[in-house]
């Protein structure tokens, strides 16, 4: 027997001081009184029929005086009388207390009133002849972005059926009699939805419902979990933080610049400088696949569309054995792996570039994602020049990138994926009309890379295997007045990883990677002469040490790597992770073996406090140009470093994570060009050796407020010192040594690394204001890089140039760098899509930070070359 409560409005009385009473039934003559409109019930709430009374078929009624305020809200319920049993009283009071009215109006003005209301409980005595039940099948999604809403309650009021949406946002009612139903959908983070279902006989009703979020959140749900415990320090950034940090123009990878240990690079070029090491000492990966460039040229965005990015891992040191070929730090960008639930996409247009993205499920088991981006900053710069009435030529970056990802679940345990990524960067000379065809300016520089990655993952019972072959093609073209270079590098690599749960507390990782590559370069480039001219080795005097010569380089190389790691938890609080990696680099001149043992320890002292430490060896093969016979030295050995680090992770007040780490990195056998050092070997100048060394030490602090729906933020501070020894010429990027004469500086003498930045402070915060508004600030305060002062000059008559006389090496610093960035965004959420407009401004205060110091021809006058001025970017984004 079903029961049904029926409530009715029995009488209405207005009790208002000084107001005439509206008696609609009595028809009494009304004197000249204000126009009164009674309150109208807008939102009715069913009372819970007392189960015992319903079973016995007892009916009842509760007479109440209900006080309604001028917003229509019920503020007081006073029971006058209950019929049928006291058990009806409270359910009626509870239900009426939740009623929402349109408030009463007196001459159009909302007014608080008190009314009489009777809530009646009636039992449906008549047996409802039910048709055979139908199925109501549906899904609940978020309005705008169409993401499934998990855990939403869907209720059919009339028959008091409720269910909850599953992990895919789906729900189902079985055996629903045909008829009209009021459906109510509720979820803590969304606005209540009331709708109607019309269930017909012999027909399944399919219902797709859209919920409007209480706070517009077009992003994936932020997962707040415990950090990965198999590393000493790995900073993981969630997607929302990746796309809205001010000053990054919505680029996730740029956010890395605000993390501890990352030094600032000039003009935001995007060199990966970690703990003051040279950029080539760190590596970047996408899903474990090596890439040559993480960012597009000259402060451009990263090479991967943000929609394809799941998380970004950044290791400032002590990285796990599955990464090699670097002696400083690692950045690994993880693309999304989850299955696409529905068709979605995004178009973003801003001042600098435009991008598009689309994703779609393919059948029940497949997913497809694709993105493309193209810059037009060169046109913007030209327009800005001409608008300002300037004439001249400058350089501007032109870039584009494209990606596509297809994945398919072959079975519950097998997943196949194919991923393609390509990127192109070039420099364009932007000239106003007056400067066009200027013969003095001639520059072309293009670099591009492509990766085609296949992946097969099998998950077994307590083990998993991942096989990942990939093919890469890198191209570079450079052309100046008389220097040209055109080259391609191809590589075929395969990486396999086996993970096994040996026991409850013992996990094992085994990896094997092998690759083969070949390089093909032609052109005319400066190369060292094959003969000696006296006075060349001193100060680059009259006759050039290099000459432009034809280049023809065809070279093959290869490498094999294997690594293994055990994660052992002897008891809950302690985790030990010993690992070992072996690499063998094979080049035309020889082989370079590398052995890297590593150990990580983590001890969970309390639930909110963990201690961690690591020690390990990290090796890196010399870059190919160092081992080339013409340019370098085929006998070079590996560069290597020892990393020592220790620290603590603390969670405060359940909302703040503090990560404090002390580190000491010791660099050895660094490769360097030695042509100008005066060393001779086998009757010719030694072009390169492993004579460099150095160190970096300091402290890194990260205080992160755990992201909420409203706010995210963190403060990152690094205090460090990085030093190099060996006379310069490291990787082609070390500081020049011209003040130290013919022999170069002492090899025992440490001096500051050109990327040493003693203090690096970054503070980021972003807050959602509601109604689709979000705003944030980013502040950066960084020590200036070291500077060797110039105290005079002397004239070299043979080449008619002045040469500087320098003071004590690195005895000064450039001025401190300060930059404040601002971002504001407004999002409009529609039924099936979200529109956003944003303004992202770098260097809001237009600080003239010094990037370089340039001198006049005889080193008497200097000029601090400023970095990027205030740089706003306005953009519009549509996402569905």
């Amino acid at each position: 027997m079903s029961s049904k409560a029926i409530a009715g409005l029995a009488a209405l009385a207005l009790l208002m001081p000084g107001a005439a009473v509206l008696a609609q039934e009595s028809g009494a003559e009304e004197p000249k009184a204000p126009v009164v409109i009674p309150p109208v019930l807008r939102s009715f709430v069913n009372a819970v029929y007392p189960a015992d009374l319903a079973k016995e078929g007892v009916e009842g009624a509760v007479f109440m005086l209900v006080e309604i305020d001028d917003t229509g809200k019920v503020v007081k319920v006073e029971v006058q009388k209950t019929e049928g049993g006291d058990a009806f009283t409270q359910p009626a009071v509870d239900a009426v207390g939740q009623f929402v009215f349109d408030p009463a109006l007196v001459d159009g003005v909302p007014m608080g009133v008190r009314i009489g209301y009777t809530y009646r409980f009636k039992v449906e005595k008549k047996e409802v002849k039910r048709e055979p039940g139908q199925v109501v099948d549906g899904a609940v999604k978020e309005m705008g972005v169409g993401l499934p809403v998990i855990g939403a309650e869907v209720a059919l009021m009339e028959i008091r059926l409720k269910t909850t949406t599953d992990a895919k946002g789906k729900f189902k009612f079985s055996n629903v009699p045909p008829g009209e139903y009021s459906a109510v959908v509720t979820h803590a983070e969304y606005k209540r939805l009331e709708t109607k279902f019309s269930v017909q006989a012999d027909k399944t009703l399919e219902a797709d419902l859209l919920l409007e979020p209480l706070i517009e959140n077009p992003y994936e749900t932020v997962v707040r979990g415990k950090k990965e415990e198999s590393v000493v320090t790995r900073y993981v950034l969630e997607q929302r933080a990746l796309e809205t940090v001010p000053g990054t123009f919505g680029d996730p990878v740029r956010v890395i610049e605000t993390l501890p240990g990352v030094a600032r690079s000039p003009y935001g070029v995007g060199m990966l400088v970690i703990r003051g090491a040279m950029p080539q000492s760190s590596r970047a990966f996408i899903d474990g696949v090596d890439i040559p460039l993480l960012y597009h040229f000259l402060a451009g965005p990263s090479v991967l569309n943000p929609n394809l990015i799941d998380t970004i891992e950044y290791y400032p040191g002590n990285f796990p054995v599955r990464y090699g070929g670097a002696i400083a730090g690692i950045v690994n960008v993880n693309p999304k792996k989850d299955r696409v639930d529905g068709l979605g996409g995004e178009v973003d247009i801003n001042l600098l570039n435009a991008s598009g993205y689309v994703e779609s499920p393919i059948g029940e088991k497949g997913s497809f994602r694709a993105g493309v981006r193209r810059s037009y900053v060169d046109l913007v710069i030209l327009a800005a020049l001409e608008a300002a009435g300037e004439t001249g030529t400058t350089v501007a970056p032109v870039y584009y990138d494209y990606q596509a990802d297809f994945s398919y679940n072959l079975s519950d345990n097998d997943r196949l994926e194919i991923f393609y990524l390509g990127s192109m960067d070039s420099l364009a000379l932007v000239s106003t009309a007056e400067q066009e065809n200027d013969p003095d300016i001639d520059l072309t520089a293009v670099t591009q890379f492509n990766r085609l990655v296949g992946s097969w993952t099998h998950v077994g019972n307590g083990w998993s295997l991942d096989v990942r072959p990939y093919f890469g093609w890198d191209g570079v073209t450079m052309e100046t007045a008389n220097i040209t270079m055109d080259g391609d590098i191809y590589q075929v690599v395969s990486r396999q990883e086996l993970r096994v749960d040996l026991a409850d507390r013992l996990k094992w990782l085994l990896g094997l990677e092998g690759g083969y590559g070949w390089a093909d370069f032609t052109g005319n480039i400066p190369m060292w002469n094959d003969y000696y001219m006296p006075a060349q080795d001193v100060v680059g005097s009259h006759q050039s040490q290099v000459d432009v010569m034809p280049l023809l380089l065809e070279e093959s190389y290869g490498g094999v790597s294997t690594y293994t790691e055990l994660a052992w938890t002897p008891w809950d609080a302690l985790k030990l992770i010993p690992g070992f990696r072996f690499d063998l680099w094979i080049h035309p001149g020889g082989t370079v073996p590398m052995w890297d043992p590593r150990l990580i320890v983590r001890y969970q002292v309390l639930e909110s406090l963990a201690l961690k430490g690591g020690v390990g060896k990290f090796s890196q093969a010399p870059d190919p140009q160092f081992t080339d016979e013409k340019y370098g030295n085929p006998d070079l050995t590996a560069q290597w470093a020892m990393h020592y680090s220790g620290g603590a992770e603390v969670r405060l007040f359940e909302t703040v994570d503090v990560d404090l780490l002390g580190f000491y990195d010791d660099w050895h056998d660094l490769t360097r060009f030695t042509r100008e050092s005066g060393q001779v070997e086998n009757g010719r100048p030694l072009l390169a050796d492993n004579g460099g060394w150095g160190r970096s030490y300091g402290m890194e602090l990260m205080v992160k407020y755990l992201p909420t729906d409203y706010f995210y933020g963190w403060i990152a501070y690094t205090l460090s010192r990085s030093e190099l020894a060996g006379g310069g010429g490291f990787g082609g990027g070390g500081h020049d040594d011209e003040d130290h004469g013919a022999g170069g500086s002492s090899e025992d003498e440490l001096s500051l690394s050109p990327f040493d930045q003693t203090h690096i402070l970054s503070a980021v915060g972003s807050v959602k204001l509601g109604r689709g508004w979000e705003t944030g600030l980013r502040l950066r305060l960084v020590s200036g890089s070291p500077e060797t002062p110039i105290v005079g000059s002397f004239y070299m008559a043979d080449n008619q140039r002045y040469s500087p006389i320098t003071g004590a090496r690195d005895s000064e610093r450039k001025p401190m760098f300060f930059q404040l960035d601002f971002r504001v965004e407004k999002a409009w959420t529609f039924e099936t899509w979200v529109l956003s407009a944003y303004l992202d401004v770098q260097n809001v205060t237009n600080q003239a930070n010094t990037e370089f110091i340039t001198w006049d021809y005889r080193f008497r006058d200097s000029w601090n070359v400023p970095g990027i001025p205030i740089l706003p970017s306005f953009g519009v984004n549509g996402r569905f």
Partner: protein
Amino acid sequence: MSARILAVMVLSAAAAAACESGFEPEYLVKDLRVLAASVDPPELTIPIPPEVAQRLRERMAAGFEGEGAGGDMADRGMFSPDQFPQFSLPVSFSVLLADGQESTRIYPFRLQACTLEGSQCAADAPAPVVAEGTVGVGESTVDAQVPSDALFAAAQADMFMGYYGFAVWLRGEIDAGEAEPMVFVKALLVYPDFTGDRVPNRNPAILDILVGEKDKEEPVPLNAAGRFEVKLGSEHRVLPFLAPEDRERYTVVTYEGEVLELEEYLTVGLYSTCGDFDSTRASEEPDMAFDPEDVEKTLAVTWTAPSDGPAICTIWFVVTDGRGGEDWHILDVDVTQ
């Protein structure tokens, strides 16, 4: 490789920015400057006895090893003090001083022969004063003697101990009354002559300067005072002429022992007291070098006369041959209404 292109990009951005620095152009002479220095002859040869030459060849064939400075050359089979010529080599040293102001001052001058470390003579090697006196604006010439101990020290300091030749640096100081003297350096190259037939380098010579109005065929004639006369603000093409034989051919020996024949690069630097050049300075790039046989490739530079005048502009042309050879020419131009 991409890191290198990144570096190029950063430097390009910096260079583009530096163009806005407002520094005075290098060609403009506004105060006292050393524009050129030459040594005559620019190259000296030292005869090597045949038995020494043979031993050196064997030593090189066996793989010469060593570092730039120090070591007993006798042990290595290179020169020993008693085998080294015990004489001092006479040279004629000239320096070209320029001043944007009319100046008749003379300045104390000192010349040392030494091994260079930065801007200073190496403290642990002989650095004898080979000439002293005074110099004034314009060309000054002194005779100098380079003693054998300076030659020996320079050979020792060389990367190959002088086997392929070595440089003796002539370091000049001019006391202009400032806190620090003006310092300039000039390399005097010394070559061991193993075969007895080495032709030493010589200084090039600027034969003539042509000044022509831009886009016109005829050169500007000399006026009664014997100077070129041009109008205020006019543009002219200036063309230095050198003797064709000044672009000398010479030989070098590679590390493999192969003999290469090379040709000199001649480059011309231009300086003036007024007016503007369209190039900041002469380039050392080969295709910017003067080639008397290919006028199209010649360093044809446009000089724009000043707009304020009348004035007399002095223009200096300094030619270098890339091997220590140097010469110059001075031109006065009347700029009239």
